[in-house]
Assembly symmetry: C2
Homo-oligomer: 279 residues x 2
DNA sequence: AAGCTTTACGCGATACGTAACAATA
DNA sequence: TATTGTTACGTATCGCGTAAAGCTT
């Protein structure tokens, strides 16, 4: 039995589609289909009824889904516990891509693992599933069930084609943003959720012209002048060389917090980034 | 993660030897060594200290051993539960090799799985581990913690080289057995345990000249005249064509019992062999 | 035709077994 | 020298991705 197959199966059930699950898992759809077949022949029972518009979970399939989640969680816990027994006290840190590339490199974490996910809710989920010891999330998505310590706050920055001639502004108001085409990552995505929510709460009428999936080159669309986009400041730091204007956005902040299951784990992470700041 | 590797790891720890574990698992010793290396690199921690006279479990290794047992058990349980959800109510039946070849073929069990192990204690263990729903064991090894139903009893039969000229006897007394060389399977083995125990309790001095591992051709040694051996009557039925004498042994009986965790499972097995007797 | 899954097939990685090697008592 | 574990290497199987082919709506 292969635990990766069970993990894949869980994703299939949650996405209600083999195709979508394959995308999320970054494997081809036929490969995933065969994993599923493998599970069904392993257990000698039909798990999912395939329809032309996705899949339908059978009774046995639902049972396996629940049991598999528990099994995977237990397996992840074993791994984490063994890591903790390692003399290096290695931790697995879950974080957003931007944190991994722009913030974590400030610290010496070579004895630890970094686990990247695209949005905060997934990071909290990974913590609950014992896939990671600690997660660095956008405080906005914190739900109170874990211990937390805020690390830093920052503004969002708009990436704007030069041709819009907004480069001289110190801050971009939502009034102006309303007037230009806006390109966002497609959901689920922290920035997407926060912008949508902010617009809704302040009756701002956004002119969203394009949704770009993760991994696509969002900035390319901005460079080509198709519209502006909004990203956390941390990300914009690496984009200074691009021929676009970077302007902070009014009234929209981001606080990155470390969350964990216990204060002990949280503190050992805080010690880590306290002690090991490079400069 | 591969659950088979964890299962192998459990066997290594229990056998305290990679070589012995490889024999029990029927894979080559280097292959098992590599599985172990795979686990250690998966968890990035040393599990076993290798010495020239076996292995020595580290702290982390002991922790993994306990956790792995629980994980494997949970995984087996999932499999059994899914089997039960199958419309055929497929069961997995654990039994001794002799039962699988001589008794079970009397019933139509094609919708069920048969899981063969070499001795009753292992079968009870598999039941506790959820590897099987029901086990057919030698009643002698029943420890009272499971529900049980006796199925049949039989005598043991000695396989004797013709040259000993004992073919005319109706029953072989232990007095006579003492006088001849005896060949047994090496421990662990039900027959071995029972004969040793019977000899000890009745102050019989056996002249055991050879131990043959499972899988070796015990009967070959008898045919060549090196000594006699003793097997359950069920096994001896398939040996009538051999040029040896088959004589029942005095004072030694065997009762095969079905054991299960619950009466429900036990009864569904009993129904099965009630209904489906071929003749 | 569009959207989903399955089948076919070639390729690379993985895992096995055999054989040779190393280490220790 | 016997016992135990490791390394090396050839081979077979497994699992992936690409491409093409069913199925329903």
């Amino acid at each position: 039995m292969n635990l990766e197959w069970l993990q894949s199966y869980i994703v299939i059930v949650e996405e209600k589609s083999i195709t979508k699950a394959a995308e999320r898992l970054n494997i081809s759809q036929p490969a995933l289909s065969k994993q599923l077949k493998g599970l069904e022949s392993e257990y000698n029972i039909l798990l999912l009824n395939r329809t032309t518009k996705g899949i339908e979970v059978t009774k046995a399939g639902f049972h396996l889904y629940n049991q598999a989640k528990s099994l995977i969680q237990q397996s992840n816990l074993i791994k984490l516990e063994l890591q903790e027994m390692n003399e290096s006290h290695k931790m697995t840190i879950g974080c957003l891509p931007s944190i991994a590339t722009s913030y974590l490199p400030n610290f010496n974490l070579k004895n630890h693992c970094v686990f990247i996910q695209n949005y905060s809710k997934a990071l909290i989920h990974s913590l609950e599933n014992n896939q990671v010891n600690i997660s660095l999330i956008d405080n906005y998505f914190y739900d109170g069930s874990l211990v937390k310590k805020d690390l830093f706050s920052e503004k969002y920055v708009a990436l704007i084609p030069k041709k819009y001639n907004l480069g001289q502004l110190n801050e971009l108001s939502w009034k102006i943003i309303e007037e230009y085409p806006l390109i966002l990552h497609s959901s689920p995505c922290d920035t997407y959720s926060k912008i949508k929510s902010h617009a809704y709460n302040n009756t701002i009428n956004l002119n969203i012209t394009k949704y770009v999936p993760f991994g696509d080159f969002l900035y390319g669309y901005v460079l080509s002048g198709e519209g502006m986009t909004i990203v956390p400041q941390l990300i914009s730091q690496n984009l200074r060389h691009l021929d676009i204007d970077l302007i902070p956005v009014e009234d929209l902040e981001l606080t990155i917090s470390a969350v964990a299951k216990t204060n002990k784990i949280l503190n050992s992470f805080l010690d880590l980034i306290q002690d090991e700041v490079i400069k």
